[in-house]
């Protein structure tokens, strides 16, 4: 059987208190993330309301196919993450490692597709800054759209990278048998974080990619 980590930290009175604290902790952290992305969403919403045509035009230059694929990839990774948590809960080490690896793989695929998309934008001179060019009267507002596009998807990608790093650490620990049915809080907490990152994308995708498309 697996050797579980003793894992009751000294400040807690009992495992229930510890579990409660850890769960509340990750949710409180996610609320800070909501506010963090919220600032970006607010700025975006303001400008989109002011420049609807320019933003629609800019949005049409985003690759909806790649974006759609990425959405599916991320949703699948949430599935594998949930399965990983379930495996941890059941004390199944191999399944846990497999699902964590699957989640990492899907996350890397997502980032890879993002790199391709960013590459296309770079070639099309749609990256804000000195190299930005866009025909038509709306160039300035289109640049504004792309500033938000890169800021929002970039911030999201950063959170994905951090998530993948944490998942990698978890894979190593899972492989070394550190988790069991009695102790799997880190997996659960990471799962909550990963689902959150997925949900942010679920908001980002329609807001950025699907303006004015029917």
């Amino acid at each position: 059987m697996s050797e579980s980590h003793a894992a009751l930290a000294h400040q807690f009175d009992d495992p229930q208190q510890q579990a409660e604290a850890v769960t509340l902790g990750i949710w409180a952290f996610l609320i800070t993330e909501v506010l963090f992305f919220g600032g970006l969403f607010t700025g975006y919403a303001g400008y989109r309301a002011n420049y609807p045509q320019a933003f629609a035009e800019a949005s049409h230059h985003l690759d909806i196919l790649l974006g759609g694929i990425n959405t599916m990839v991320l949703i699948s990774s949430s599935l594998t993450m949930a399965l990983a948590v379930h495996a941890a809960q059941s004390g199944k080490r191999q399944a846990l490692v497999a699902f964590l690896l699957a989640t990492i793989f899907l996350g890397v695929v997502f980032l890879g597709i993002k790199v391709i998309e960013y590459g296309h934008k770079f070639e099309d001179h749609l990256v804000p800054g000195r190299a930005f060019t866009f025909p038509g009267p709306h160039a300035q507002q289109v640049q504004l759209f792309f500033s938000f596009y890169f800021a929002m998807t970039g911030m999201h990608a950063l959170h994905m990278i951090i998530g993948i790093a944490i998942l990698s650490v978890l894979v190593v620990r899972a492989w070394r048998n550190r988790f069991s049915a009695a102790y799997y809080a880190p997996v659960e907490v990471t799962g909550v974080y990963w689902h959150f990152v997925d949900i942010v994308w679920i908001f980002l995708f329609p807001l950025l990619y699907l303006i004015g498309r029917h």
Binding site: N50, Y51, Q53, A54, P137, H138, Q140
Partner: protein, 328 residues
């Protein structure tokens, strides 16, 4: 201006006395409550000072009636203060319709003021007594703030948009003009004087300058008319081309309600005109094609103000193009 030490600023506008009245009211209320608290604290601290090391007072949980009293009473006073202040603020934001229209452009680190008759000033503003003056202002670079303490008037000056404020001076004299929003190295030197004159002297000053550092240039609407030609605005906003209207007529436009393609309607004020020149697609007028080019980068803030002055000037004809078009 007051070179001597004073505890209160001079009152030199119709608003000043009203603002001061609110100020005195707030001082009275605050003074009353602050004094009350100070006296109570001192009184209780002395009367109930510890007399023996072992004394232990009875616990008192609280008293709902007192809590209600000191919640409701401050709330009521606060609402009075709010209402009074809001009323003042509304007055300060709505200029009377007979106000003189002056334009102010702020930039690091000076104020440029344009009188409609053509006189321009730098860091000085001459105005007549007893005449409402409306300022339409913008910045060429960072955010500044146009502040005249003696008038109790202040309004930020923001790049990319117009802000407006107004005052009516009541007392001849010279008063401070300050920039009140930090704007860089010489923020504290972005100051000037407001010179309030009797109306007769003001008219004289407008014509002659009276030895001040102002300049008499063309009236902004004249400069605006010239720009209107130079920038070829007249091509689309002049006479129809073969019976087709390329651009909306600008006759009597100022202050009218305009129907936009999006279904909304807006009032054609200074901000609308400025935006339409710099970002024509933002508010496309219903029934017209999106063919107007942007003039961003081609016309500076002063030019924009001149065009606005031209468009709003009474008796302007939007058809100076009849003959001149043929020359283009």
């Amino acid at each position: 201006m007051q070179p001597e030490f004073a505890l209160f600023p001079e009152k030199a506008s119709t608003l000043a006395a009203r603002v001061d009245a609110l100020y005195y009211f707030l001082i009275a209320v605050s003074g009353f409550f602050a004094t009350l608290i100070f006296l109570l604290v001192i009184y209780f601290a002395v009367k109930y000072r510890r007399r023996s090391a072992t004394e232990q007072p009875q616990p008192i949980e609280g008293d709902l009636r007192l809590e209600l009293l000191w919640t409701i009473l401050p709330f009521g006073l606060a609402m009075i203060m709010f209402g009074w202040g809001a009323n003042l603020y509304f007055s300060a934001s709505r200029a009377p319709s007979d106000a003189l229209n002056l334009y102010v452009v702020g930039k690091q680190w000076m104020w440029k003021i344009q009188h409609p008759e053509g006189r321009r000033e730098i860091n000085e503003l001459h105005v007549p007594v007893g005449q409402p003056v409306k300022l339409t202002m913008t910045s060429e670079d960072v955010i500044h703030s146009f502040f005249i303490p003696a008038f109790r008037m202040k309004m930020d000056v923001v790049p990319g948009r117009y802000t407006t404020t107004w005052f009516e001076a009541t007392k001849a004299g010279e008063y401070h003009l300050f920039c009140a929003e930090y704007c860089g190295t010489k923020h504290s030197q972005m100051i000037g004087r407001i010179v309030v004159m009797e109306p007769v002297q003001y008219e004289q000053w407008l014509k002659n300058g009276n030895g001040t550092a102002s300049m008499l240039g063309e009236a902004p609407e004249v400069a605006g008319a010239r720009l209107f030609q130079e920038q070829r605005c007249v091509t689309c906003h002049g006479a129809d081309v073969g019976g087709v209207k390329l651009g909306p007529s600008l006759i009597g436009l100022f202050g009218k309600t305009v129907q936009l393609q999006s279904g909304e309607s807006v009032t054609a004020d200074e901000g609308y005109i400025r935006e339409s020149i710099l970002n024509p697609m933002a508010k496309l007028v219903a029934g017209y094609q999106p063919i107007m080019p942007t003039y961003q980068g081609q016309i500076d803030e002063e030019g924009l103000l001149q065009l606005i002055a031209y468009i709003r000037s009474p008796g302007k004809t939007a058809e100076p193009a009849g003959e001149t078009r043929a020359e283009q």
